[in-house]
C-alpha cells in the first residue's frame, strides 16, 4: 500500500465512490433542490417493494440467521419468494430489512467489498473490520433515508480469533452495536424479539437455535401483516443459514419444513 495522499486504498466501495458514483446506491445524482421552500416537498414515492422481518440467534458454535420471504408494496404483497439472507463470504452473512432494491444492491456491494480487500491485501478483514466497514456503507446511505429508502441490516460473522459467532445491528446513521444473544429487525422485528426473549438460553444447540429462530418468524407473522409465515400451499418457507467455524451453511428447505410441521402440529393440539 502506497502511503502517498493520492493512494487508492483497498476499499472497493471507496473506489466506486470516486470512479463511478453512479453505481453506488447513495451516489446517484438527484434533481437539484429548488430554492422555494414549498417546492422542496417530495412528490410521494410510489410504494416500493420492502423486505420485512429478519433475525439472528447465537448458539454454542456459531450463529443462525434467518428471514421470512415476503416483500410488500404498501398494503400489497410484492413478492412471496424474496430471499433476504445473503452469504457475504465464507464466514459471514447479512440479512436486510427495508427497501428491497437498495438492500440487494448493498448486499452485493458488500460482498464485492470484502472479496476485493482480500485479493488486494492478501488477507481477510477481521470480523470487527467487516462490521465497521458495513457501518460506513450504511452511513453513506443516509441521504437515501430522507427519500424514504431505508436499508437496515443485521450482520453476523464468525470471529476466528475469539472463536465465537457475533451479531451486529445498525441504525440508519451507521451506528454499530453488538448484540450478545439474539436480535430481530423489520416490521415484525419487535414480535420476533419478544418471541425469542421467551425461549432464548445461553449455549443453545444448533438445532434448538434454528427452532427458536423459525418460531420467532412464525410468531411475527401472526402479529405483523408485513411478515410472511410458512406458505404450506405453495411450499415456501423462510430461509436460514448457519455461520460457524466450519464456514457458512444453508439450512435445507426440507429441514425447515420439518421444524414447521412439528410446530404447527403442537399448536393444533394446544387449541
Amino acid at each position: 500500500m502506497s502511503l502517498t495522499p493520492d493512494d487508492q486504498g483497498s476499499s472497493f466501495f471507496d473506489y466506486l465512490m470516486r470512479q463511478r458514483p453512479d453505481l453506488v446506491p447513495s451516489g446517484r445524482v438527484w434533481p437539484a433542490v429548488s430554492s422555494q421552500p414549498d417546492d422542496n416537498r417530495m412528490a410521494p414515492l410510489q410504494p416500493l417493494p420492502h423486505g420485512t422481518t429478519v433475525l439472528a440467534v447465537k448458539y454454542r458454535g456459531g450463529v443462525v440467521i434467518a428471514g421470512d420471504r415476503r416483500a410488500t408494496e404498501g398494503y400489497q404483497i410484492a413478492g412471496r419468494r424474496m430471499d433476504k439472507v445473503f452469504k457475504i463470504d465464507e464466514h459471514s452473512a447479512m440479512a436486510i430489512a427495508g427497501a428491497a432494491g437498495p438492500c440487494i444492491e448493498m448486499a452485493k456491494l458488500f460482498q464485492t467489498e470484502l472479496e476485493h480487500y482480500e485479493k488486494l491485501e492478501g488477507v481477510q478483514l477481521s470480523c470487527e473490520g467487516k462490521a465497521n466497514k458495513l457501518g460506513q456503507m450504511i452511513k453513506a446511505n443516509l441521504p437515501m433515508v430522507f427519500q424514504g429508502l431505508v436499508v437496515l441490516p443485521i450482520y453476523v460473522g464468525y470471529d476466528q480469533k475469539r472463536d465465537e459467532g457475533r451479531i451486529f445491528k445498525y441504525d440508519i446513521t451507521g451506528g454499530r452495536y453488538e448484540e450478545s444473544d439474539y436480535h430481530a429487525i423489520g416490521s415484525g422485528g419487535k414480535d420476533a424479539r419478544n418471541s425469542m426473549r421467551e425461549h432464548f438460553r445461553k449455549d443453545l444447540s444448533e438445532a434448538d437455535a434454528l427452532r427458536i429462530a423459525l418460531l420467532a418468524l412464525y410468531n411475527a407473522a401472526e402479529e405483523d401483516v408485513g411478515t410472511g409465515g410458512p406458505d404450506l400451499v405453495r411450499g415456501i418457507y423462510p430461509t436460514a443459514k448457519h455461520v460457524s467455524a466450519a464456514g457458512i451453511k444453508d439450512v435445507e428447505e426440507p429441514q425447515i419444513a420439518t421444524v414447521y410441521a412439528t410446530l404447527i402440529d403442537a399448536r393444533k393440539r394446544e387449541n
Binding site: 487508492q8 466506486l16 476485493h116 485479493k119
Partner: protein, 227 residues
C-alpha cells in the same frame, strides 16, 4: 539556445527495449502450465509473503516477473478492473481476454510514451469451465501479447525455459503431480541447483472448486505431492 540532442525513434525504442529486457532478465522465472483440472502456476520466489502469483477473479489469475513495485500496481489495477466489471454486469462477464488486452494497452502506451518503460512481463491465466479451453496470455514489457497453449514462461531465462518445456510437455495436460514435477525441474535446470520447496510459490486455478477457483498450495502440500 542549446538544441536538444536528436535521437532517432528506432534508436530510442531499441534503448528502451534493451533496458526493460535487462531488468526482467535479472529477476526470477515463473511458469504457467495447463494440467488435468486447470492451470498450475509456479514461481521461483524465496519470499513467503511477497507473492508473484495472485488471484484476480473467480477463474482468473495473474503472475508477473520483473520489478515488484511495478507488478504490484498492475495487479491492483487488474483486480479493480475485474471487480468493477463483475459488479456492473455479472460475474461470468469478467474474462481473461479483456483483462489481457487492458494490460497490453497499458504496457504499450507506457513503453512508447514514457521515458522509462515498465520492467515487467506478465501472465494472465483463465481456467476454462463447461468444456471451454483454458487461456494463457503472455504480455511483454512493450505491450505485445501472445496467446499461449499448454505452458508459458516469463522472467529470468524465459526463452531457455520455454525450450526446456517444449521438449518435455507433450500431448494431453498431465496430472497435477506430474505438472508440478516438470515445472520445478525446469526451474532447477535454469539455476543449476536444487530449489527448496519453501522457495517455490505454487498456486492453481482448479476447475473442480466451487466459486473461486484460485488456491495457493503451501510448501507442505507440495512436498506431499512431490514425494
Amino acid at each position: 539556445m542549446p538544441l536538444p540532442y536528436y535521437v532517432s525513434p528506432e534508436q530510442m525504442m531499441q534503448d528502451k527495449a534493451e533496458y526493460a529486457k535487462k531488468g526482467i532478465a535479472k529477476g526470477r522465472s515463473i511458469i504457467a502450465m495447463e494440467y488435468e483440472q486447470g492451470v498450475l502456476l509456479v514461481a521461483d520466489n524465496p519470499s513467503a509473503s511477497l507473492f508473484k502469483i495472485s488471484e484476480i477473479y473467480d477463474s482468473i489469475a495473474l503472475s508477473g516477473a520483473g520489478k515488484y513495485s511495478e507488478f504490484e500496481n498492475l495487479r491492483k489495477a487488474g483486480i479493480r478492473h475485474a471487480d468493477l466489471k463483475g459488479f456492473m454486469y455479472s460475474r461470468e462477464d469478467v474474462t481473461a481476454r479483456s483483462l489481457a488486452n487492458g494490460y497490453s494497452q497499458t504496457l504499450g502506451t507506457i513503453f512508447s510514451q514514457e521515458i522509462k518503460p515498465l520492467e515487467v512481463e506478465i501472465l494472465v491465466a483463465q481456467v476454462g469451465e463447461l468444456g471451454r479451453q483454458n487461456e494463457i496470455y503472455r504480455i511483454s514489457f512493450d505491450g505485445s501479447i501472445f496467446d499461449e497453449r499448454g505452458y508459458a514462461a516469463i522472467g529470468g531465462k524465459s526463452e531457455a525455459l520455454q525450450a526446456f518445456l517444449k521438449e518435455r510437455y507433450k500431448g494431453e495436460p498431465p496430472a497435477l503431480q506430474a505438472a508440478l514435477v516438470l515445472c520445478t525441474s525446469a526451474l532447477e535446470s535454469m539455476t543449476n541447483q536444487k530449489l527448496p520447496l519453501e522457495g517455490i510459490e505454487v498456486a492453481v486455478l482448479d476447475r473442480t472448486r466451487p466459486g473461486r477457483k484460485f488456491r495457493r498450495i503451501p510448501a507442505g502440500e507440495s512436498r506431499l505431492l512431490l514425494s
